[in-house]
Symmetry: C2
Subunit: 195 residues, 2 copies
């Protein structure tokens, strides 16, 4: 915990204000993305596999964002990428990989999903890092990111010598977790009663 | 074409009213879900693999919906599933599998994505089949369906003896196509200027 406390702006567990999503609703969503107890176990295993690879993973993801102007602009002000903003978010992004694999998906987790959702939305974007970049990340790209964040993970999951079947299972668990996360983050963008 | 004309309510190509998504925007979205020309080729191949399996695929998907009350309710009126509605939608769903693999992703395709989006949303739900079921499908489940619609496809793609690598590539292309589709369908649910 001392390590995670050191990440500026990382406030997991500090948002008692409940998520708009009820625990019963989360249960139904987990069923719908086929997320079961075996996926929790597979993500625990994945966290061990990924623990010393998070910087390499972030290199790939940041490389993807950096090479696409339509994505980099969300980190930019008047066409100039904000290097400090990129660096500050990167630390929390690395922690998110491990959190997604190890945190129980309970009401504390739900509450932080809502907080991160708001940080992508105009309601809270830029606030945490006192940045002045684009005021909102459009939902279409958040949902589109399900693909690169899933596809690029395969090689990292395979990098520690697990058999192909175990890697495929870990990869499927990760896919379910990312999709569940992205859909929860859509909440602030959606018309009342339509989420 | 004579076969597809015979599907009640299937109106591909009959919605000249432009999609709210511009072609340039679609290009950027395809880049973001890593969808390239090789994926188009893989989906053409997938369409040959899947052509005589669509009923079996629909059995799996309808079985999933039918065994989950929180999903079946969208086909139901006062707690009773509407069998005719289920059957009518099923025909178009089968056609959609083939369309997703074979149609060029152009402005005609975009326009029908918007039409299907509206048919899940309260704007047009139930109209096509003169049904009286739930008035809207909540967005969270449309996005959650990315997982079952992707995961369950693997075995069907593998059923015609293609090597494991080709199956994996076809599966990845399908995953990208489903994610792109689902995110386009979120449009009617999203606050103005936040899509
Ligand atoms: C599934 C999709 C996505 C995931 C999982 C994801 C993950 C994350 C994480 C973990 C954080 C830090 C959260 C925290 O403060 O603790 C973050 C923040 C951020 N992300 Fe994303 N992200 C996604 C989509 C995107 C997209 C498409 C963009 C556009 C390039 C983007 C740009 C940003 C920016 C600018 C921030 C900082 C927001 C702020 O001002 O606080 N993200 N993201
Ligand atoms: C990625 C997610 C989904 C895909 C790809 C999908 C696919 C389709 C397709 C192809 C159609 C027929 C479109 C046409 O009229 O030509 C349809 C209609 C329909 N779907 Fe979905 N669907 C998805 C999510 C859902 C969910 C979560 C539900 C809830 C159980 C659902 C329930 C329905 C219903 C009730 C209709 C009929 C709508 C009407 O009244 O016209 N769908 N869907």
């Amino acid at each position: 915990m001392s390590e995670t406390r050191a990440i500026p702006g990382y406030t997991y567990g500090q948002h008692p204000l409940a998520s708009p999503i009820l625990p019963e609703e989360l249960t139904l969503l987990k069923q719908t993305v086929l997320f079961g107890p075996e996926d929790e176990q597979l993500l625990r295993l994945a966290s061990e596999v990924l623990a010393d690879q998070t910087e390499a993973i972030l290199d790939v993801w940041y490389g993807f964002v950096g090479s696409h102007p339509h994505l980099l602009r969300y980190f930019s002000q008047q066409g100039q990428p904000d290097i400090q903003y990129l660096a500050a978010v990167r630390k929390r992004f690395g922690q998110w990989i491990i959190d997604t694999c190890t945190r129980p998906y309970d009401s504390v987790w739900l509450a932080y999903q809502q907080e991160i959702a708001l940080r992508h939305h105009s309601i809270k974007k830029n606030q945490t890092d006192v940045a002045r970049a684009e005021p909102i990340i459009h939902l279409r790209y958040i949902l589109a990111f399900i693909v690169p964040l899933t596809v690029t993970m395969k090689d990292f999951l395979a990098a520690k010598g697990h058999d192909a079947q175990t890697v495929a299972w870990m990869h499927a668990a990760w896919f379910k977790a990312v999709t569940l996360t992205a859909l929860l983050w859509s909440h602030p963008y959606v018309n009342a009663n339509e989420f």
